[in-house]
Symmetry: D2
Subunit: 281 residues, 4 copies
């Protein structure tokens, strides 16, 4: 399935400032970037960096006082790996690839160390496997209210577990924290997503199961097969779409995500909710 | 039912210090202090204070450097009011006595303001009344591990709701916070209790229902009809059994609580778990 | 010095709701209410309650769905007790009136138990007395940014000590917490205040020194002698100007505070910043 | 300068468990491991992993129920880069290598996002450069009490900033959080250190200045030139010396660190406090 997607970001700077962006769709075997275009007004040189483990693409600008406009556009083809949920086991800590271990450790917004007992009470007796992470997502969906503007940049899974309100970012953080508390590696995903209203950057998470990273979205806001990954990290701190050093005011943010019609579209090739498991890495 | 109870507290002071104690059983219509004796070694003058609303008895000493020993002993007769749980409704905020309103507000260890959604999710749909507070206690018993030394003087209901471990004090704080979040006045009770092993000061709580204060103990450690109240307050901060200003080291603490056999004992007159509601104020 | 003051509060209710207000100026020997008028539209019966210790006046309404308008107006004469700051000592815990002790304990928004070392580091070596509380206020003024809308109903002194931003309520909570951490009883004051722009309810605090309650305002937003007390409590949880049970939306809030010109006005009889200590209780 | 160092760790397992260790001295251009020996009793196969960015060495065992003993011993030669503190500037965010950016972001124990204003108040006006990080370390040393067992695995910089008590791990976390709040990349260092009494694993931190990682130790417990690095990470979560999955009880932990006498020792070649800056990466 192919998507056209992108964003237009307008800023006003009152002094020379440094900006770091993470808005490009990643390019890997599950998600091929067929073409992309980045335009910066005024024209500025920038540094690029592809994080070697997760392949997130960052670029950095030193921009002068005045207006700044970033336009990114890409066509991306998703070739997710689909699996039957029942066939996907958890991987024991003794068998995990050693480079997934740091996705077991607590992070700024996912204090799994403080949620261990809660996770055990709610999910400790469930059958290990994909279905247990589904149970985590269902619990979040059932027990946490989705409410725009109910949380802020400081809100963490520890808060959300008790305050029971948040947005997609908070839902993802709580899902990650519960997984880690159960010894399932989990990581944060920032994404473009088809069907969000109003359009915005989306957040969900991946859990490492059956020796793949599978996608989970406890917010249920969009079909999982229409989530185009920008970056993965331990939590939102790693994949902020824009980080500023200086004096920067956002003036406008526009996003778009559209499926590209293909003559040979199959049934899996339309954005649709699915009960199948989708591996993204 | 009558009890002999008391405590022996030994301290070592390295300088002139002030100590405030709240260890005397209160005397009210539900709990009559038949006799009591307080002994202080060395002999010191002390100030006494009975808090007018809750009737807690505090006494304060200014004690010199050296050893200090406090011995308190009393015989107390409990005349609790018993009621069928089904007959006890909640009182609407519009009908609450105005002097109970401050037991609806959040306090240091009972941040009901941050637990509102959790309380609504877990208990919001239950039938109002005594049975809803019982459901709160059952939830705490089922979802929080009782573990000695698992919490400290800073631990609050907000922590316990998520960390799911604590002692009787934490269980009481969480019960209080949930009640307040549902607009049920609730207060902390410090107590002597028959059957604690090892003997220690106990903590439970009271909720205002059916125009009385009813006793609840989510720890289930002792029979409710064998709890002899020392003090009530918003939370543990109000009824610490001992508060020090200076340099004071506890060296020993001994408590005892024993039922006094009476020729005319009825069935309600032995320490026993009961499904009846017990009003204590 | 005399003031005309009052407020007009407009609400929209979508169901029968209970509202508790604490908006009346207290009447005591330092602050005499010469006349007052409370008007409720539609006309409704209400319950009144004067809290016996602090003399706060609460009233409660059960109001039907629809519009509700509360108008309060009063003329108040302040007769504060003035003292030279140098003459005001701290009171040792062993000499404190026993009914001030609970203003030493931590409360919801003033976690003095967690700020003890910080208070000791910053103020522990200062000379005890009124000047030490002044030093606390100066520290808050110098180290915390006053920024409207920077905090919310959950924000506490523990947060403000580290996040270093807040409004008058947060400044007061931090002042109280520091005092208690140094064994100085302190309590929250809600007030009308002359000179706030935009007009709003004000918050400051009182510390118990030299056997009186002295007023402190680390926000420095208004002259201390133009602060007319509504209520005192352990912290903001006790003296919320309006508490709702039901479905209540505020539509408008207007306040006014105006000095009343008197023929025989002396120099102390105009709103003015002063270095003298002002006792209010 | 050369050191012999190592540890002996004894555990008791009540079931088959997985253990991950990070106890090996890293090998890089500043710190050469001349020889090392790892012994495991009973003999078990293990997986090894060298984290590509920081070069931390992890090894993982699946160990059966019973006793387990890990003995690690190495000889390490330090060839630190020394620089005059005055010559070391901060690096502007626009000039930082892009792979250092994630050391600017908040992490589990270093919530720099919540400490921004505090850092600005205390250090914002200081001259940027090495000396500003020294000022941070001095502030921590002067304002936080070092007290064994005063913190636990949940304690974070946010707590330590206010509670003002901790151990070396907490001192390092606070230093890191302050640096990040000032846009200075900083990372946690776990280490062997000569002179700790009792011997234990040590924690300090590195800040990225003048295009190198420089070592800082706000605890002042040991000479900086006698700190042998085990691992670096965002905070303690990344470099725990031992992580368990299963049922593992530590029974004994012994560490040793001894300088190796060399015929051609120069003055920099003895463990000694120094005012020079030491780069370790």
């Amino acid at each position: 399935m192919k998507f056209n997607l992108g964003c237009q970001l307008k800023y006003s700077l009152t002094q020379l400032s440094t900006l770091v962006f993470n808005i490009s769709a990643i390019n890997n075997e599950y998600q091929k970037v067929l073409q992309s275009h980045l335009q910066i007004e005024p024209q500025l040189v920038f540094d690029e960096y592809i994080e070697p483990y997760a392949k997130n693409q960052y670029f950095r600008l030193n921009a002068p006082s005045g207006k700044l406009e970033i336009s990114y556009q890409a066509t991306v083809e998703l070739s997710h790996f689909y699996e039957k949920p029942d066939a996907i086991p958890e991987v024991l800590p003794g068998d995990l690839p050693l480079d997934t271990l740091h996705y077991l450790y607590p992070s700024r917004y996912c204090q799994s160390d403080k949620l261990t007992r809660l996770a055990q009470y709610e999910f400790g007796d469930l059958k290990p496997g994909y279905s247990r992470v589904t149970a985590i997502c269902n619990w979040i969906y059932d027990n946490v209210s989705y409410l725009s503007f109910s949380s802020n940049q400081n809100t963490s899974a520890y808060d959300t577990a008790t305050e029971r309100v948040g947005v997609c970012r908070d839902f993802a953080h709580l899902g990650i924290a519960f997984c880690r508390a159960l010894n399932i590696p989990a990581r944060f995903v920032s994404a473009y997503a088809y069907g969000l209203n109003p359009p915005d950057f989306h957040a969900c998470f991946e859990a490492y199961l059956g020796h793949r990273w599978y996608l989970f979205d406890p917010s249920r806001l969009v079909p999982q097969n229409a989530i185009i990954r920008i970056g993965t990290g331990r939590d939102a701190a790693d994949v902020s779409f824009a980080t500023f050093f200086g004096a920067v005011q956002m003036e406008q943010m526009r996003l778009f995500v559209e499926p590209v019609q293909d003559p040979d579209t199959t049934s899996q090739d339309t954005p649709a909710y699915t009960s199948e498991a989708i591996a993204t890495g």
